[in-house]
C-alpha cells in the first residue's frame, strides 16, 4: 500500500476543496436557488429590521405589545391544555376500546380540520349571541336564557382548541395504533393495570408524537387572524394587520413579524429538544395492531361521551348553525357573483397546489441529485415556510415586490411604456406566497412515499445508462404518484381555507370564498358568511376523509 497518511490527507482542506469542485453540479446550484427563492420573504424581514422601526413603534411597545404578548401566551397555554385533553383522550379511547360507532367516530374526529377556525368562531358567535340559536332554543323550552359571553380571549381559546385538536388526535392515534401494541402486551404480561399502563407507559412514550401535533396546533394558533379579529382579541397577527392597513406603517409590521418568528422558532426548538430528550427507536416492522377492549358498564358511557363531545363541539354544532343560516340567506347570497367567486377560489387553489407540489418535487429531487450532503441539509430550510404565519409571509413578500415593481415601472417608463404594478396586485405574488407557506404540506407526503422507493431502484436505472431526469420521469414518478396526488389535494384544501395571507396579497378584483366569508362577517353580516363557509367545509371534507383512508391503510 503506497501513499501513507492517506487517511489524514483525505480530509485535508486541500482535498476537500478539490472534492467540492468535483462534486458541485447544476443540481446543487438549482437547489440553492429554490431554497433562496423560498426563504426570500423571511430574509427580507430580517434585512428590513435594519432600517429601524416605524413612528408608532414606541407607542405600540408601550401600550399594545404587552397585550399581544400576554394574549398570545394565554392562547398558547390554554389551547395546549384543551387540545391535549381533547386530542389525546379521544385518540387513546378509539385506539384502545371498542364501543358504539367507534369506527365512524374515528374519522369524524378528523373532520373539525375541514372547518377553518374563523368559521367555527362565526358559528359559535351565532350560537351564543342575543337572539342566537341558544336563546331561541331556551325560549322555545320556556326557560330563561343565561347568556354566555364568548366574544373574548377565553372564547377564542375555546374556538381555536376545538377546531385544531385533530392535529394532536391524528399524531397520537398514529402512535397508539402502530407502535403501542408490543408495549401494551408487555405491560399486561407484567400485570400492570389499565390506568397505570396509560399514564406510566403510553403517555410518556407517545410524547414525541403528541408534542409534534401540539406544535402544529400552536403554529396555527399564532397564525390565526380571522377568529381573533372577530372576537376582538389583540394578537401579533391582528397587530401586523393593523400596522399595515390602519397605521400604514410597514416597518412596524416588520418588527412585529420578526418578534412572532422568534416566538415560533422557540416553539420549534422546544419540539426538537423534547424529541431529542427521549429519542425512542420505534420498530418499523411492528405490524401487529392494538387489541381493542370492550368497556363495561358506566365506562362505556364515559368513553362514548368523551369521544363524541369534541365531534359535537368541533363539527356538528357549528355545521348545524351554518346550515341554519345558509337556509335563511340562500336567496340573497347565492347569485352569479358568488358562483364566480367559487370558481376563482377553486382555480386559484388548484393552480397554487400544482405549483407548490412542483416546487416540492424540485426541492426533493434536486437536493437528492446534488450529492453534496450540505446541500441536502440546506434544502430543509425551504420547508420552514409552514411555521411562518401567513401574515408574516405576506409582509415579507409585499416589501421586496413593491420595491421591484417601482423599479420596473421606472424602467418601463424610460422606454415609454406606462404600466401598473406588475407583481403586486396580480396573482404572481399570491401564488408565490402560497408556495412558500404550503411547501411543507406538499413536501412531507411526497418525501415519505419517495423514501419507500428503495434507492437501488433509481440506482439501477442510472447504472443502465439513464440520467437523473429521465430516471425520475420513467421510474420514480410512476412509483410516487399517490404521494404526489395526496400532496396536491392537501395543498388545495389549505389554500381554500387560507385567510390572512390572501387578504394581504390578493389582487383587488379577485375574491376567494375565505375572503368573502371574512368580509361578510366583518360587515356585520355573519349570517351571509355561512354559504361561502359551507362551500369551504364541504370541499375540504372530501379530502379529509380521503386522508383518513390513507392513514388507516398505513
Amino acid at each position: 500500500m503506497k501513499q501513507a497518511g492517506n487517511k489524514s490527507e483525505a480530509f485535508s482542506l486541500k482535498t476537500r476543496i478539490k472534492r467540492l469542485k468535483r462534486d458541485i453540479n447544476k443540481w446543487s446550484v438549482l437547489t440553492l436557488t429554490i431554497v433562496f427563492f423560498l426563504a426570500l420573504p423571511i430574509i427580507f424581514i430580517g434585512v428590513e429590521l435594519f432600517s429601524g422601526p416605524g413612528e408608532t413603534w414606541g407607542h405600540i411597545v408601550k401600550y399594545l405589545l404587552p397585550d399581544y404578548i400576554w394574549n398570545s401566551f394565554y392562547l398558547v397555554i390554554v389551547c395546549s391544555f384543551l387540545v391535549l385533553i381533547f386530542g389525546v383522550s379521544s385518540a387513546w379511547f378509539v385506539s384502545r376500546y371498542d364501543f358504539l360507532f367507534r369506527k365512524q367516530m374515528e374519522w369524524l374526529l378528523i373532520l373539525p380540520l375541514a372547518i377553518p377556525s374563523y368559521i367555527v368562531g362565526y358559528a359559535y358567535a351565532g350560537i351564543f349571541d342575543y337572539g342566537g340559536s341558544m336563546d331561541l332554543l331556551f325560549r322555545q323550552l320556556g326557560l330563561e336564557f343565561i347568556r354566555i359571553d364568548i366574544m373574548n380571549r377565553a372564547g377564542l381559546a375555546f374556538i381555536l382548541s376545538i377546531s385544531l385538536f385533530p392535529y394532536v388526535y391524528v399524531s397520537a392515534r398514529a402512535f397508539f395504533l402502530n407502535q403501542a401494541n408490543n408495549l401494551l402486551e408487555a405491560s399486561k404480561m407484567l400485570g400492570v393495570g389499565e390506568r397505570k399502563t396509560f399514564f406510566k407507559l403510553m403517555l410518556p412514550l407517545a410524547r414525541p408524537a403528541i408534542v409534534a401535533g401540539l406544535v402544529l396546533v400552536l403554529m396555527e394558533v399564532l397564525n390565526d387572524y380571522g377568529a381573533a379579529k372577530y372576537y376582538g382579541v389583540n394578537t401579533f397577527t391582528t397587530g401586523i394587520f393593523r400596522s399595515w392597513f390602519s397605521l400604514e406603517e410597514p416597518q412596524t409590521a416588520v418588527y412585529l413579524s420578526a418578534l412572532l418568528i422568534l416566538i415560533i422558532f422557540t416553539l420549534i426548538l422546544f419540539e426538537k429538544w423534547q424529541v431529542r430528550k427521549i429519542k425512542f427507536t420505534s420498530s418499523k416492522t411492528n405490524s401487529t395492531q392494538i387489541q381493542r377492549k370492550e368497556p363495561k358498564g358506566v365506562m362505556q358511557w364515559v368513553i362514548f361521551s368523551a369521544v363524541s363531545l369534541p365531534i359535537i363541539l368541533g363539527f356538528i354544532l357549528p355545521v348545524i348553525q351554518l346550515i341554519y343560516w345558509a337556509v335563511i340567506t340562500a336567496s340573497t347570497v347565492f347569485d352569479m357573483e358568488f358562483i364566480m367567486i367559487s370558481l376563482q377560489s377553486f382555480a386559484i387553489a388548484i393552480v397554487s397546489a400544482i405549483i407548490t407540489v412542483f416546487f416540492a418535487l424540485l426541492l426533493i429531487y434536486f437536493s437528492k441529485w446534488s450529492t453534496l450532503t450540505t446541500i441536502k441539509n440546506i434544502s430543509r430550510i425551504g420547508v420552514l415556510g409552514y411555521a411562518i404565519p401567513g401574515a408574516v409571509i405576506a409582509i415579507g413578500i409585499m416589501i421586496p415586490t413593491l420595491a421591484l415593481d417601482k423599479w420596473l415601472i421606472n424602467m418601463l417608463a424610460k422606454v415609454g411604456v406606462d404600466s401598473g404594478l406588475i407583481i403586486n396586485g396580480t396573482l404572481i405574488a399570491l401564488l408565490y406566497a402560497y408556495a412558500v407557506r404550503f411547501l411543507a404540506v406538499a413536501y412531507n407526503p411526497i418525501d415519505s412515499t419517495a423514501l419507500k422507493v428503495d434507492n437501488s431502484i433509481p440506482d439501477s436505472s442510472k447504472v443502465l445508462g439513464v440520467g437523473n431526469l429521465k430516471t425520475f420521469l420513467k421510474i420514480e414518478f410512476p412509483l410516487i404518484k399517490t404521494g404526489v396526488f395526496s400532496a396536491v389535494i392537501l395543498v388545495f384544501i389549505d389554500v381554500m381555507k387560507e385567510l390572512p395571507l390572501t387578504l394581504i396579497l390578493k389582487p383587488y378584483h379577485i375574491d376567494t370564498l375565505a375572503v368573502k366569508a371574512f368580509e361578510y362577517a366583518s360587515d356585520e353580516m355573519v349570517m351571509e358568511a355561512s354559504i361561502p363557509s359551507l362551500f369551504i367545509i364541504f370541499t375540504a371534507m372530501i379530502p379529509v376523509i380521503f386522508l383518513n383512508k390513507l392513514l388507516i391503510k398505513k
Partner: protein, 334 residues
C-alpha cells in the same frame, strides 16, 4: 481492465472509514470475489466502482481511462457497468421484457437483444409478466438479464444470493455463473459466504474493516493466509496463544501470531501412537456429536480448554492431543 488505486471513503467526514486505502487490479475476463463480513466495506467498494458513491481519496481506472478520482467523476450512466443488486431492484411497474429493454432503448435491434437475454436466463416465455409475479430466483435471473443486456465491460454482483435459502442458493449460483461464463464478461462478485467465493471465483479479495487483507487465488488463501482472520474464513482454525504454547511446551516466535488448522490437530489414545512434536494429555469434558464428526471440549494438563474435531467415534475420557511444527501457520502480529 480495472485498476483501483488507494481508494478511501468515509461517510462521517473522516471519523470512520468505510474503505481505507484500497488498491488492486482486475484482469479482463476474470471472476473476482470480494469476501468480507457485513460492514467490511464490500458494498461501498462496488458502489464506488459503479459510480453510485464518490471517493474521498484515490482513483478508479477502467479500460485505461480514469472514471473517478479527486478531480474527475464519470456519471454512473456513462460507465458501462452492469450491476445486480442484492434486492434485485427490478422496476415494479414495468414488465420483465420492459425491464430488460430499459437499458438498451437506443439499440436498433433492442427487441431481439432483450428476448435473447431472457432466453439466455431461461425466462423467454415470461416477458409479459410483472416482477411481483415471479419467484425470488426468477427475479434474480431477470436482474441478471437486464444487467447483461447492454453488454457491460464489467458486471458487478452485490450479494446476489443472500436473499435465497441454502438449497436454492447453490443451484442458482451454478446456473448464474454458467450463464456468465457464456458472455465472457469480467465479474466482481460480492459475498460474505466463502463457499460462494471458492466455487466460482478465479481470485478472491478479502476485505476487513475497510482494508484489503489479501487478494489471491483460492488455493493460496487456504495454504498461505495472511492473517488469522483469513485463515479462519477458509477452515476452522485454532489460535495458538501464549497459554496454549505453554500447554504444549512449544515456544514460538515472539511478535508473531500462530494458528493451526483444526484438521491438523492429532487426537490419539496414547502418547506413543501420536506422531507429533508437541503433545499433551487432556481430559474430555464434553462430547458433541455433529453427524459424521465429533466435537470435543478438552481440558489440557495445564488447565487450558481446547475445542477440537475428530472423526474417531470411540473416544476415551483421557486422551493425548498434539500437532507438528510444519503445520503451524505464522502471521505477523495483528
Amino acid at each position: 481492465m480495472l485498476t483501483i488505486d488507494s481508494l478511501s471513503k468515509s461517510f462521517d467526514k473522516g471519523k470512520n472509514f468505510a474503505l481505507e486505502d484500497v488498491s488492486f487490479n482486475l484482469k479482463a475476463g476474470q471472476v473476482c470475489a470480494i469476501v468480507g463480513e457485513s460492514g467490511s466495506g464490500k458494498t461501498t467498494l462496488v458502489r464506488l466502482i459503479a459510480g453510485l458513491e464518490r471517493p474521498d481519496h484515490g482513483s478508479i481506472t477502467m479500460g485505461g481511462k480514469i472514471i473517478a478520482s479527486l478531480d474527475k467523476f464519470v456519471q454512473p450512466e456513462k460507465r458501462k457497468i452492469g450491476l445486480v443488486f442484492q434486492e434485485y431492484a427490478l422496476f415494479p411497474h414495468l414488465t420483465i421484457l420492459e425491464n430488460v429493454l430499459y437499458g438498451i432503448s437506443k439499440l436498433k435491434n433492442k427487441k431481439t437483444r432483450a428476448q435473447e437475454m431472457l432466453d439466455l436466463v431461461g425466462l423467454g416465455n415470461m416477458g409479459s409478466r410483472y416482477p411481483h409475479q415471479l419467484s425470488g430466483g426468477q427475479q434474480q435471473r431477470v436482474a441478471l438479464a437486464r444487467a447483461l443486456a447492454p453488454e457491460p465491460s464489467l458486471l458487478i454482483l452485490d450479494e446476489p444470493f443472500s436473499n435465497l435459502d441454502t438449497m436454492l442458493r447453490t443451484q442458482l449460483r451454478n446456473e448464474v455463473f454458467d450463464i456468465i461464463k457464456k458472455t465472457e464478461v469480467t465479474v466482481l462478485f460480492v459475498t460474505h459466504d466463502t463457499q460462494d467465493a471458492l466455487s466460482v471465483a478465479d481470485e478472491i479479495l478479502i476485505l476487513q474493516k475497510g482494508k484489503v487483507i489479501q487478494k489471491d487465488v483460492a488455493a493460496n488463501l487456504y495454504v498461505k493466509p495472511n492473517t488469522l482472520y483469513v485463515a479462519s474464513l477458509f477452515g476452522s482454525t485454532v489460535h495458538i496463544n501464549k497459554n496454549l504454547q505453554n500447554a504444549f511446551r512449544c515456544p514460538l516466535k515472539q511478535d508473531c501470531c500462530h494458528a493451526i488448522r483444526n484438521e491438523k490437530i492429532i487426537v490419539s489414545p496414547s502418547s506413543a501412537e501420536a506422531d507429533c512434536e508437541y503433545i499433551t494429555a487432556a481430559r474430555v469434558i464434553k462430547k458433541i456429536q455433529l453427524g459424521d464428526s465429533t466435537q470435543l471440549v478438552l481440558k489440557l494438563e495445564s488447565g487450558e480448554q481446547l475445542t477440537v474435531m475428530t472423526q474417531d467415534q470411540n473416544i476415551a475420557d483421557t486422551i493425548y492431543v498434539g500437532f507438528n511444527s510444519k503445520d503451524i501457520l505464522e502471521f505477523e502480529q495483528e
